[in-house]
Each structure stands twice: as C-alpha cells, then as structure tokens.
Symmetry: D3
Subunit: 137 residues, 6 copies
C-alpha cells in the first residue's frame, strides 16, 4: 500500500450564511465570513489516493491522469468562480471548509476508483492558519 | 538607512472589468478574472519602510505602530470585503494588482511619515506565482 | 468524522538539561541545546481536532472558539516566555519537543471536549527540519 | 507513543524508463520524465519514527543520531548522484517516487530499530505539487 | 513605474565542469556538482519586468502574455532537460547559476520589450539556501 | 554585475531592554520582548554579495567559501546562544533586528571583500511577518 498526494489550487469567492437566518444571526456566527458582498480565498486542495504499485509501470497512478481528473471534476468548476452561485455540487450547502471538503470527496470518489486507486483524504487549506481533512467517514 | 518590512494579509473578493466594455471584451482581456459573480484571493501585503535608527530605542519604527497603521488604514477596509464595491479608495478603479498596490501606497504614505519613516515599497502577492511592487514613482 | 487543524505560533527561550547531571553530561547529550544562558525558537503549534459536523452551522467547531482556547490555554503562557522558568505546566520537565507536545495535549484536552470536538493531534515544529506529533497515547 | 519527523534533502538526476520498452512506449507512459539525457530534482525526504519517550533523557531518539543515520544510509548515497546509475539500492528499479520511497524504507528500517524506535513513514516530495508516502506495508 | 514578477519552475539535470580541466581539478573546484553522471534540481525562475501601467487596461503587461513568453522562450527548452547537452543557449557555458541567469536574461530581453515592458531582474533559485539575481549590467 | 544570496539560520535567545530604564519603561516600549527571563527566535540570515563573474570558474564566489565565512564569522557565535550575554560583537547594543543586521554587516564586510566580492545586503527575518534589511549606509 502506497499513498500519493496531488496538490491543485483554485481561487474563488464565497459567503457563509443561512438564508433562513437574519443578517444579525449570520454575522454573529460567521463574522465577516458572512459579508453579503462576498469575500474570497486562494484555496489549496490536496488529494491523497492509496493502493498498490503496478509492477509494470512503477506507478500507483499516473499523476497526469490524477491531475486531469482533479482539473475536470473539481478545479475547472471552482476556479475563479462564486462557490455559492456557480458550483452545482455545492448548491444549497453552508460553505464551510468542512462541507466543501466532503462535497469534493463525493465528486472524486468514483473517478479515482476508475484510475485503479482508492481515495484516502481530501484536504482543503483556506489560509496558512487552518485546514480541514476528510477521510470518507 | 535601514529597511523594515511588515507583512499583513487579507482575503477579498474582486472582479476585473470595465463597465464601458461588453462582457465579451472584458472576458477577452481579463479572462476568468472578469467573472460577473466575483472570485477571490488570499492577498499578502508587504510594506517596506526606510529611515535611520532612533539611537535611544534601537528601532526605526516600533512594529506595533506600523502594524496598527496597516490594520487601520488598509486591512480592516479590505479583509473579507468585496474590493469593487466596499473599499472607498478603490472605487472606480480597474482592480488589477498594479492599481491595488498604487492605491495602498497613497493610503499609507502620510501615516508612515508620521511614524518618522519613509515609505519605500508596497508589494502585493496575489498567488504564489506572481506579485507586484510599487516604489512611489 | 471530519478533522480540522489550527496553527498558532509562539517564540520562547528554553534550555534542555537535567539538574542532577553535570554540565559535561548535559553538554554530551543535549549539545548546544543545554547552553546555560538559554537559546530560543519560533515554534509552530498545529492542533488537530475531530468530530462530526453540526448540521445547523456547517462547522465542526467555530475556529474563533478553537483559536481563543489555544491562545488562553497555551500561547499566552508560552509566547515570549522562558519555558523552563515561567510556564507552570512545564515545571520540572526536560524540555524536549516530545515533552512539550505531551504537556500541551493535557492542557488542551478538556477544553476541546467542551467545544464539542475531540483532540486528535498536537504537532510542534521547532525548525523546518524536524517536528513532533502526539496522538494521546 | 510519540512521533518524530526529520527532514533531509538531496538533489539528483534520474530518468524513468524500462529498458525492455521502445523509446516511444517509454515516452508515451512517462512523458518528458523519460528524457534519455536525464533530468533532475531537489528531493525532500521526511522520515517519521515512533516509540516511547526515554524518561531519563526526554527523547524518543536523539535527532543527531537520526540525522546521522539518514545521512549515512541515504543522503550521501543519493545527493548529487544519478539515481539510475550510481545508487546501489535502486539498481534495476523503475525510479518512480513510489519505488524510491519503498527502497529508502528498506535501507532505514533496521538502523532505526537500533536507535530504539520504529520506522513509521517515509515521505518523498519531488515537487511542491506532489508527494508519496510509504508506511511499510 | 510599476514592477511585476512572474514565477515559473523547471526541473533539469546539469553538471558543472570544464572540459579542459582534469577530473581532479573539476572535483576540487565544483565538488559533487561536477559528478560525471549528472545531478539535478527543481529550479525556480522569477522574472521581474517594469514599466508604466496602461490606463486602458490597468495592466503593465497581461500576465498570460508574460507567462506564455517565459514558457516558450525558456521553460519548454529547459524543463526535464539536460542543461549541458540539450539547451541551445547554454551550449559551451559553465553551468553555474550565475551563467544560467545571464543566459536567460538574453533569451527574454527582446520578447519583454515587445510586450511593452522592460526586463528588470532574472532570479534563479537553485535550493532554498541560495539564489542568484541579474539586473542586466 | 551579478548578485548572489546565501541563507543561513540560527536560533538564539535575546531580550530587548535598556539597563538605564525602569522595568516599566522597558515593558512600555518593548512589550513582552523585554521579558527579563529571555525569549527566543529562529532567525534566518540572508546575505547578498555582488561583483563580476570569474570567467575561468563561472562563479562570482564559491558558495562553499561564502557559507564557511558566514558560519565562522556569524553563525557559530550566535546559534543556540544568548545574544545579550554571549556574542562579543553585540555587547552593549539594544538588540532590535535593526541593530543585529548592522552588527552582522560589520562582521562580514572585510571577509567578503577577501573573497573577491562586495557585500550588498544583510537581511534578518525574525518571524514570517517582519524582516529588516541593511545595505551599508
């Protein structure tokens, strides 16, 4: 069993809030992250997959294939986008890093299996001071 | 003459576009940075000041004072904000990093003189692959 | 189950030595880390907590609460301090990174439970070339 | 149980290819990494060991001993070398990061036991966008 | 006058030596950097250009154009290549970072003028412990 | 004219205070940096030298010689030391980063000339949020 991690990056706008709450309640819980005019981040996404090495190639997966999957399934949909409005698989969710990581896991899970590996971890770094990891359960 | 640099960070949403241009022309020049639904970044701001050391204190400037100035004059106005809509000193500008750096220079210049130093450089890092520097002329 | 990690930093002086050993024996084992006149580091502390997401807020824990806990329970007691002399929960310990990580674990464990999460890992980075992790047992 | 990680770095040339394949087939799978004239990287090696703290010293292992082991068993053999030609324990292997990590594991495993610790993880960072981890099985 | 810096990266093999010197003399001066079997690095290239902002676009230069120039004129020729053998503009040079930086300057100078800017600095980072800068004279 | 920069690191304890001031006045100006029990930092030192390339070797200076000079003249005297008590060339100074940078400049200036280069800049990074640069006048 070997583990490989690929980093991709995206920049996006978002806002944390619940429509059924007042502005005051949103502000109280989410602080300036609930700014109605949006704010944004440079996100780093680290995706770790695991499995056994193909003895013929020496690869667990070809990183070009893994990178292409991440680009198609996640980055192109999120980069320079408004996460609340423009990303289908985030619709209706409260856009904490926790929920973003879990949503990305579900977008990637089958594609990574089709590459012959198993998804191990989705890690989202929002700032240099905090990150979230999801291991699938 | 000694040089001191202080880093502050802010996260913000923005959009690059000209109102007098069509969406196509904006898209053509600014690419996905002109996304009408905004996108965002974690910005790093490095401000370099210069001057002579105060022999009584060993300081050029007290970093607490410099940091407070940067917070009051720039960071509180930009962090978790929409740069196009909510920042008075950016109103009406095309929000390239070039223009943001110059605008921040003018916000800081007098305040730094009042600390007994001279503003030397405003540097804006938008992503790990590019940054802009302005030296005042 | 989701994992969230928060980084805090502190700068401190310390010295590694045993009072019941001669200076030679201390120097032999701890090298220049046993310098009687102290030395110091910029430490990075990464605290990882785990638990389930609160469906109402989308948070595992509010990072403001987690950061405040780390500040109150650890950073304010250690930052710009002498770890051997001024930190109550380190008194009488040999101040290797191993022992510092375990001591911080015990300072944080109950507070993190009171935030509704479980402490998963305390990681201490002393230099860019080495770090220590403690998982509670 | 405590975990300690030590970083060492090395720069080396390598090439990914199978002698029994045509240049086209190698190029097809390994891309420009199969360049017959070699290419190279600055590798970062992170080795994590685990075990219990020696109560007499406060150490799991003395980092000087761990660093010396890594230097002698791995770095001196790999730094500024051609991995395909000059490294005995890599002879005949396809030099993916996966295979390099596993080979380093076997070079280090007994030496780390002789330091009184257990090898937990070998991590190889080839570029800032990808890394490989091996946990021994 | 504003300054913009773009980072690009490449990985390459190289060797420092003079053909008219003995192996001993090369080894004596260049150490393990003269290894006849090559070694390699992940290089970071920072290119700084300067000029005045185009008031119509808010740009000094469009970063897409600058990046494309760097890719075409430098990165595609150097990435995953053997610098001594495969790079036309480095032929016959001693491949210290000093000489590499100056050679890249001359490859880029006219192209950057054709973008409407002036080349200010070429910076080459070979390892995290040293870098070289060239300002054109 | 080419510029080369070498990084070295050291960890040290220090305290900022004036003996002729009361504890209150020191605390007022220097905050927790005047803690009588010391505190410490991991410092990064970047030394930039300039000059012309030796056409015979392709070097401005041999980095091994530059590194040895920095080690002998600065790092061995400061690493794991108490800067106020144990470093001869800092005796009697207020140990702000400003004064440390200038003192290091004077320690290095002649030695770098004897390597055939000219000292251009001494840069001291105390934390990731601030640094000081001195250019010699």
């Amino acid at each position: 069993m070997i583990y490989i991690t690929r980093r991709e990056r995206f920049s996006a706008a978002h806002r944390m809030f619940r429509e059924d709450w007042t502005d005051e309640k949103n502000q109280d819980l989410y602080g300036n992250c609930s700014n109605p005019n949006w704010h944004g981040h440079n996100y780093e996404l680290f995706v770790t997959v695991k499995g056994s090495i193909n003895p013929e190639t020496g690869y667990l997966v070809n990183l070009k294939d893994l990178s292409r999957l991440l680009q198609n399934a996640v980055i192109e949909k999120m980069d320079h986008k408004n996460l609340n409005i423009e990303v289908d698989f985030l619709k209706g969710k409260i856009l904490t890093s926790e929920n973003i990581a879990i949503a990305i896991w579900h977008e990637l899970n089958f594609g990574i299996q089709s590459l012959g590996a198993e998804l191990h971890c989705v890690k989202i770094i929002e700032t240099e001071n905090n990150y979230v990891e999801y291991f699938g359960n």
